[in-house]
């Protein structure tokens, strides 16, 4: 993996996710943690952008512990736990948060 974009803040209240979505390219990963796991609920423009990015070869992941804390869920194949996030970080060339 080239770049791991780690998004921590709510995708509704903050716009940090937009910079990641703008810069991410094939081979990069977008990982939503902390309040950013709200990404599973939108906003609408985010959902469209994520499908677009995935078609372009960007991987999308959500942190299990942060989803569970907030009573949220995501498709099983996109959920990783802390151990998985540790591996993402090991395998990334650089991390952008």
């Amino acid at each position: 993996m080239e770049n791991l974009y780690l998004i921590t803040r709510s995708t509704f209240e903050r716009t940090a996710w937009k910079l990641a979505a703008r810069l991410a390219k094939s081979g990069d990963t977008l990982c939503f943690i902390q309040d950013a796991v709200l990404a599973v609920k939108g906003p609408v423009e985010l959902a469209g952008k994520l499908s677009e990015l995935e078609s372009a070869g960007v991987t999308v992941r959500f942190l299990k512990e942060d989803l569970a804390a907030r009573g949220l869920s995501a498709p099983a194949d996109k959920v990783i736990n802390y151990d998985g996030l540790t591996e993402l970080i090991e395998n990334a060339k650089r991390i952008i948060s």
């Binding site: 902390q34 802390y82 540790t86 991390i95 948060s97």
Partner: protein, 116 residues
């Protein structure tokens, strides 16, 4: 591999310190080195006078990481701007200037930053 962290937020205000703890613990268990530079409100995470009845104790979590091998340093300037004296900081950590932050940037294979 050596993993670096820049942590800019304090305890009981932001989840950042918890995320750093959970990740650092796992990196250490896998045999990686961990360097943590606490900046701005991040320095408060090391305050040994913190009392947190019925809640997780953040300076104890930091102590646990340090005892497991993490090198933890707090920006001295940030500490002075928040009233934190050298003696207020857990024994397992220290104050250090930006020279150490630069050293961490140089020696780490991965670097994570957590802010506002």
């Amino acid at each position: 591999m050596i993993i670096g962290f820049l942590l800019r937020t304090g305890p009981y205000t932001s989840q950042n310190v918890d995320t750093c703890y959970h990740l650092a613990k796992r990196f250490l268990a896998k045999g990686h080195g961990v360097r943590m530079y606490l900046y701005e409100d991040g320095v408060i995470n090391l305050h040994k006078e913190i009392k947190s009845p019925q809640e997780r104790n953040v300076p104890e979590m930091m102590t646990e990481l340090a005892k497991a091998g993490a090198e933890i340093r707090a920006c001295g300037t940030c500490a002075r701007f928040r009233g934190i004296r050298k003696a207020d900081i857990i024994e397992e950590a220290k104050q250090a200037g930006m020279v150490v932050f630069a050293k961490y940037a140089n020696e780490c294979d991965r670097f994570l930053s957590f802010g506002f």
